[in-house]
């Protein structure tokens, strides 16, 4: 392979790519603007929302006669307004009140129920306020009772339970970051690779420039590597910008919301940032190879976008697995692409990672990226795919089309696999439910 030719192709493809407005918007503008907008927008909204809920007076009604002490406590609380009304249940449903109390005496015990609408924020807030107030009421009643019986009220404090969170504020922040950043990064890297990949493969087919380059003395491998390097460069740039932008925005948001977040710090050290970036590289190489291979089957830009939409979903699905509670890194998960990096990121964020897993994830993802490049190179050398002029892929399961052939092609295999999956998920679940096979 002539490295000079690879670099010539790489340089030219980069110039072309960065002259494409779509790539520029996606690679540079989106990460630089969307996270600050989302981050600061969200923190502002949270602050405003919290202030609004705090300032609202909760309207509380009662179905039965409450004790004088309880009524006094409610009336003394400035954040509560006592409303006397009939048909409180309906009134709560209609939003006329935020909560109501029902009191009864059961074998000497005063039972007080709070009725609230858990789907409404204002009603939830009323419930929390009443809960605290009723705890105070309970304490007052207990103290009265003890005093009347001539007992020391300290007996109520005989056992005191306290919880001590040993996690640092950074680790607490890591729980949040680890849940959101891997998924966002995978999506953004894939998006970063998709546009240059489509432009450099399907776009070249559509514009008729692919045949031009095939007329010059350059090996297919040199051409493939030049293009591949371009796509990975853009995807790495997109990944790095996204990572940097996200971490900066979260750090600033964390500072802004310090009081609200109480002991949760979203600031990440530069060392961890560099480690995350290094781990991203094999992932970018793998994702780029997959996306480029898929876009080879497309005859034009539109086709490629259609082909790549399900690929994007397929890439996101494993990242969701890592977000599920209880899913922790083990040997098997450390070698499953996407799942491994998502889990590792999660563990790095909570500062509970194992160096062996970092090695395994890095090595396995590097291997997958080599496999991806190999697949792309093989496909690029296949004339029927490279010169598929306007034919695309036709899904056919007619007997006459299949007759006399040993193998199914990619389109037919996809259709068959999708059919089996469809039956497995829908019909399989119905049958299991029907015959109680669980």
């Amino acid at each position: 392979m002539n490295l000079k030719k690879v670099l010539t192709v790489y340089k030219k493809e980069l110039i072309e790519t960065f002259r494409d407005k779509k790539t520029l918007i996606l690679a540079i503008l989106v990460p630089l603007l969307i996270y600050p907008l989302l981050g600061f927008g969200a923190s502002e909204l949270i602050s405003i929302g919290i202030a609004r809920v705090e300032s609202q007076v909760s309207r509380v009604g009662s179905k039965t006669l409450l004790s004088d002490e309880l009524l006094d406590l409610i009336k003394e609380d400035e954040r509560l307004e006592f409303i006397e009304a009939d048909n409180l249940f309906r009134k709560l449903e209609e939003g006329g009140i935020d909560a109501y109390l029902e009191s009864s005496l059961e074998e000497g015990t005063e039972e007080v129920n709070i009725y609230y609408d858990g789907a409404i924020e204002r009603s939830n807030s009323a419930c929390s306020r009443l809960w605290l107030l009723l705890n105070d009421y309970k304490r007052l009643r207990q103290e009265d009772e003890l005093t009347q019986r001539g007992l020391d009220t300290k007996v109520l404090d005989i056992v005191e339970v306290k919880g001590e969170n040993i996690a640092s504020s950074e680790r607490m922040g890591g729980v949040f970051l680890g849940g959101i950043i891997p998924l966002l990064l995978i999506v953004m890297i894939a998006m970063g690779a998709i546009y240059p990949a489509i432009d450099l493969i399907a776009g070249e087919k559509e514009r008729g420039t692919l045949e031009t380059i095939l007329t010059v003395p350059i090996k297919r491998s040199e051409l493939i590597f030049g293009k591949y390097l371009t796509v990975t460069t853009v995807a790495i740039l997109v990944g790095a910008l996204n990572l940097l932008s996200m971490l900066l925005v979260y750090s600033l948001a964390s500072f802004q919301l310090k009081e609200v977040m109480g002991g949760v710090d979203l600031v990440l050290s530069p060392g961890v940032g560099i480690l995350l970036f290094l781990l991203l590289i094999p992932l970018v190489l793998f994702v780029s190879a997959i996306i480029m291979s898929v876009s080879l089957f497309a005859k034009n830009f539109k086709d490629a976008q259609n082909f790549l939409s399900p690929v994007l979903i397929l890439l996101m699905a494993p990242a969701y697995i890592a977000m599920m509670p209880g899913v922790e890194m083990n040997f098997i998960l450390s070698v499953i692409p996407i799942v491994n990096i998502s889990l590792l990121f999660k563990e790095i964020f909570i500062q509970n990672f194992n160096i062996e897993y970092i090695f395994l994830v890095f090595v396995s993802n590097t291997l997958y990226s080599f496999l991806g490049i190999y697949l792309f190179a093989r496909l690029f050398k296949t004339e029927s795919i490279l010169f598929a002029e306007g034919k695309g892929y036709k899904f056919s399961m007619n007997r006459k089309d299949l007759k006399g052939r040993k193998f199914l092609d990619i389109g037919e295999s996809l259709l068959l696999t999708s059919g089996i999956l469809f039956l497995f998920i829908y019909l399989g679940t119905l049958l299991q439910l029907r015959y109680e096979l669980f």
Binding site: K4, K5, T8, V9, K12, I15, E16, R19, D20, R207, G208, T209, E211, T212, I213, L214, T215, V216, P217, I218, K219, E383, S384, F387, K394, S396, D401
Partner: protein
């Protein structure tokens, strides 16, 4: 200079099964000759030229271009030829200068060689006024000139031109025909495909008539006039087509 022996191309189509784009074809083009491949759309002209240019691999048969084997010496073949077709488009976001520099580097030319050759072609093809504009802003005629410069930058001995005037206006077509004639005068070997009978008549030393993937005959224009009743290449072509389809029906 160019020689093929039973070169054949078969494509696989899902509906139709095997489609023979070019039946076994043997031909030879001599040094300094302008050789025309004449036939309607879908005759197999592009497939033949693509195989000679090593863009496509023949299903069967063999061939040589400038003494290099089209199956095993693809890079050497590509270095010897300048290939231009309606399908070889240019990068819209680059300027002609950038395109010529890029292809010059891929042809392995040095910086000075590229500069000298570029200047020659800019003058020859009158490209001065648009040499630094992006290709996407150029007219069809200007783009075609850049395409020609791109294909001939490395000053190859053999030109393979697949319908170079397709879709161009009369004036641009005329200037391109004149350019080809001038290059033939410089002793270049040119294999030239077209479905315009007049172009073949004006330019070619010998013409191959191609129809449905088969070469019907190869001869000089004079030779065709002597053998056939038609007064022009168009009528002669139809005589051959009728005869060939009659033969197929009989068999």
């Amino acid at each position: 200079m160019i020689r093929t022996e039973g070169i054949k191309k078969v494509f696989w189509d899902k509906k139709e099964g095997e489609v023979v784009a070019l039946h076994p074809t043997s031909l030879s083009v001599n040094e300094g000759e302008v050789f025309g491949v004449l036939g309607p759309n879908g005759a197999g002209k592009t497939t033949l030229l693509r195989m000679l240019a090593t863009i496509l691999t023949p299903t069967d048969g063999s061939g040589e271009v400038n003494g290099y084997d089209i199956l095993s010496q693809k890079e050497e073949v590509k270095s010897s030829i300048g290939f231009l077709s309606g399908n070889t488009k240019l990068y819209g976001r680059l300027t002609p200068t950038e395109i010529l520099n890029y292809f010059g580097e891929l042809y392995g030319l040095g910086k000075e060689e590229i500069r000298v050759r570029k200047e020659e072609l800019i003058t020859l093809l009158n490209m001065e006024e648009f040499i630094d504009k992006k290709v996407e802003k150029l007219s069809t005629g200007q783009t075609q000139k850049v395409s020609i410069a791109r294909a001939l930058l490395h000053d190859p001995d053999i030109y393979m031109l697949d319908e170079p005037t397709l879709g161009l206006d009369i004036l641009t077509s005329k200037s391109i025909i004149e350019f080809i004639r001038g290059e033939a005068g410089r002793g270049k070997t040119i294999i030239f495909s077209t479905h315009y009978m007049e172009e073949a008549e004006v330019l070619c030393d010998r013409v191959a008539l191609l129809h449905k993937g088969r070469i019907l005959d190869i001869d000089t224009t004079e030779g065709y006039y002597n053998k056939c009743q038609g007064n022009n290449l168009r009528d002669i072509f139809f005589e051959y087509v009728n005869k060939s389809e009659g033969d197929i029906n009989e068999s």
